[in-house]
């Protein structure tokens, strides 16, 4: 029975990581439901973006307060996780603080974890206050009702719990070290948790051990639960931000994709030597449809965008349409895309392949009113700290509406007819185009 804790730890670890892996594979499968895009170009620039925007958080600091708080939580998350490595080894081997042989370096490492832990706690509390007391407007848009709002708070509670357990575990460990209890090697500096010692001064050794062990187990189990919570949460960005930034748009914001299928047709139309009855060349088939009405029509990168979105609302906050009371919210575009993708995925899980369910992204999730309210100003694209492009999805859905359904607003149909007939969006004669010179 001596190895019981080790075996339990192994089982917990395998379950935790196994379930997480299963869900990550599901995400990858779901993303692959989208249209393939070639993003194998410009590797150097893409890596540069990962370092600058994702690792370097360059776009977070556009808003200094939330930016700084976020950097603290992010650094805390990354650095304190070194500790998780030690916890795993200890758990599997039954050792205690196995890295303590690093000596002074270990002392300072633990000290820095503690400092970060307390900073993270402060930042998380500030985040909670901004959401629940200050009630910042961007956290209270219509799309933030129900689960999205609870999700955001649950994440903060998780972080508070994990950090508190970490500090509790350290405080009891330190007290046991001071008492010279067997197994508790004297290692580490505890600049934060040592202030908890007076509170536990008169605890018996047995109580101390029980609480230290409980905190240690709950801490690592908490981390594993949190890891598995990601898949059900907006918090996936802590992993997906990196690939998402890598695959982010490299061209100027103003450059919208040209549809190649259309180019072929237009070239054919304008080529006087083209044979309209010629058999289609191999590999040149017309695509099933122009634009997007459902998630499968979107690209894999756009679907990755949807999973990456952490619903911070910086896009919506900058959107001119949203700020003037229109229904459009770029964040909702991303949330709808993910929700619909999850619905399609559940359908596939149930039926083996996708069985048409009479629903689609257009109309059932994103309304035409939202799509037509966009000014294509790129404010949302510019604002996103992790290079999500809501505008690209809006444009593809407009293309579907116009090219597949001829469902543009009436005035735009008039505009387009004018462009076709008069070479200008207004009903003026092209022959009058130079009149301004002599007026």
């Amino acid at each position: 029975m001596q190895y019981l804790p080790n075996i339990i730890f192994l089982i917990v670890l395998v379950l935790g990581i196994g379930y997480f892996t299963r869900n990550i594979r599901k995400i990858i499968r779901n993303i692959r439901l989208g249209q393939k895009v070639d993003a194998s170009d410009n590797k150097k620039e893409r890596w540069k973006n990962v370092f600058r925007i994702a690792l370097g958080q360059s776009k977070m600091t556009v808003r200094p307060i939330s930016g700084l708080m976020h950097i603290i939580v992010y650094l805390g998350f990354v650095i304190i996780n070194i500790e998780v490595l030690e916890i795993m080894i200890d758990g599997l081997l039954g050792t205690h603080r196995i890295f303590s042989f690093f000596g002074v370096a270990y002392d300072y490492l633990i000290a820095s974890f503690e400092m970060l832990a307390i900073l993270v706690l402060v930042a998380v509390i500030v985040f909670w206050l901004r959401r629940n007391v200050q009630r910042l407007k961007r956290f209270f848009n219509p799309e933030m009702k129900g689960w999205p709002r609870n999700d955001a708070n649950i994440i903060l509670y998780f972080e508070v719990a994990i950090m508190t357990l970490f500090l509790t575990m350290n405080a009891f460990d330190l007290q046991l070290q001071t008492l010279g209890t067997e197994h508790y090697v004297s290692a580490g500096l505890f600049p934060v948790s040592r202030y908890l010692l007076p509170l536990i001064d008169n605890y018996s050794e047995a109580t101390l051990i029980i609480i230290e062990r409980t905190a240690w187990w709950m801490h690592i189990i908490g981390i594993l639960i949190f890891l598995n919570y990601l898949y059900f949460s907006k918090h996936l960005h802590i992993l997906l931000a990196f690939p998402n930034v890598y695959y982010g748009k490299l061209t100027p914001n103003g450059k919208f994709k040209n549809l190649e299928a259309v180019t072929r047709e237009v070239k054919l139309m304008m080529d006087p030597t083209a044979d309209p009855y010629a058999a289609p060349t191999e590999g040149m088939e017309t695509p099933a449809k122009f634009g997007a009405s459902d998630v499968m029509d979107l690209t894999t990168i756009q679907l990755l965008n949807a999973y990456t979105c952490t619903e911070c609302g910086r896009c919506t906050n900058e959107c001119p349409a949203n700020q003037t009371g229109k229904k459009l919210s770029p964040r909702k575009i991303m949330m709808d895309t993910r929700d619909r993708l999850e619905e399609v995925a559940a359908n596939i899980d149930k039926n083996g392949t996708f069985e048409p369910d009479g629903k689609q992204l257009l109309d059932d999730y994103i309304t035409r009113e939202e799509l037509w309210a966009c000014t294509t100003c790129n404010a949302c694209v510019e604002a996103c700290p992790v290079s999500i492009d809501p505008l690209a999805i809006i444009m593809e859905m407009r293309q579907y509406l116009v090219m597949e359904q001829s469902a543009a607003p009436t005035e735009l149909n008039v505009t387009m007819t004018n462009i076709e007939n008069n070479a200008a969006p207004w009903p003026f004669n092209q022959m009058d185009r130079a009149n301004w010179i002599n007026e």
Partner: protein, 263 residues
């Protein structure tokens, strides 16, 4: 003031067997919109003054297809683009300057893949280059010390990262440039982009151009400067709605420079 502007067409140039240094792409607004025509004229005057060898396409010019593309009509956009490329390449045009950021963006970013490769400049970039090369002189004159705020057109700013050219021109005019709360990469759209210019807005609580105009008015300016004919329309409408047309003028940077030079 009333001196006639010289705006030759490409066809005239071709007849003489010459090619101009640059094509001035006037754009639909610059050709047909009464307010924007004044911007076209002001720019032509500056080109005349600097002795630039330029031409326009005149009746051969057509919509770049930008509004069609942003509305989702890729077919119409590419038809327009290909037809324009045929005309431009027919005249062997290498360099284009335009007073419209939408035309600018489309030429610069979306035409190359369709076979249209040109050096494209927004008029504020072109004027800055002329000044830096000493081909055009600008003095503060009547705008010296005036409180002016600059509204960034989305398709010049965020779309193409050009925030400085218009501001450098304003500095040359020695104006007191006051930035709005949201400017440069965070500048608020005027509400006209994405083909919104040509349709009624969706239901909301406010018009975008009013929101932006109010922000501009907060800087207490004498002039709202911009570099886009559509922004100009939207801001002018906003100023009228706010009944400020007697105290605040909406002007293109080109017009400011032309006026300062008494053209």
């Amino acid at each position: 003031m009333s001196e006639k502007i010289k705006v030759p067409t490409m066809a005239e140039y071709l007849a003489q067997g010459k090619t101009p240094e640059v094509l001035f792409w006037v754009g639909c607004a610059g050709s047909f919109d009464d307010r924007a025509k004044k911007i076209s004229k002001a720019f032509a005057k500056l080109l005349n003054k600097a002795g630039i060898d330029f031409a326009v396409l005149g009746t051969e010019e057509s919509c770049t297809g930008d509004p069609a593309k942003r509305a989702g009509n890729e077919f119409l956009f590419q038809m327009q683009a290909m037809a324009n490329i045929q005309v431009l390449d027919g005249y062997a045009i290498k360099k284009i300057v335009t007073t419209c950021p939408h035309c600018f963006n489309t030429f610069k970013n979306e035409y190359p893949e369709l076979g249209g490769n040109y050096e494209v400049m927004h008029h504020t970039q072109f004027l800055r280059a002329l000044i830096n090369e000493g081909r055009l002189k600008v003095e503060g004159g009547k705008y010296k010390g005036k409180r002016i705020t600059f509204h960034d057109p989305c398709y010049l700013g965020r779309a193409n990262n050009e925030y400085e050219a218009p501001r450098e021109l304003l500095q040359k005019l020695e104006v007191e440039l006051i930035e709005m709360k949201r400017s440069k990469s965070r500048g608020l759209c005027c509400g006209a982009g994405g083909a919104q210019m040509f349709k009624e807005p969706e239901k909301g609580t406010k018009e975008i151009n009013i929101e932006r105009t109010e922000e501009a008015i907060e800087t207490n300016p004498e002039i709202i400067a911009t570099g886009c004919p559509f922004c100009n329309t939207m801001m002018t409408d906003g100023i009228k709605a706010k009944e400020k047309e007697d105290s605040i003028a909406v002007m293109d940077i080109t017009e400011l420079i032309a006026n300062a030079a008494d053209l």
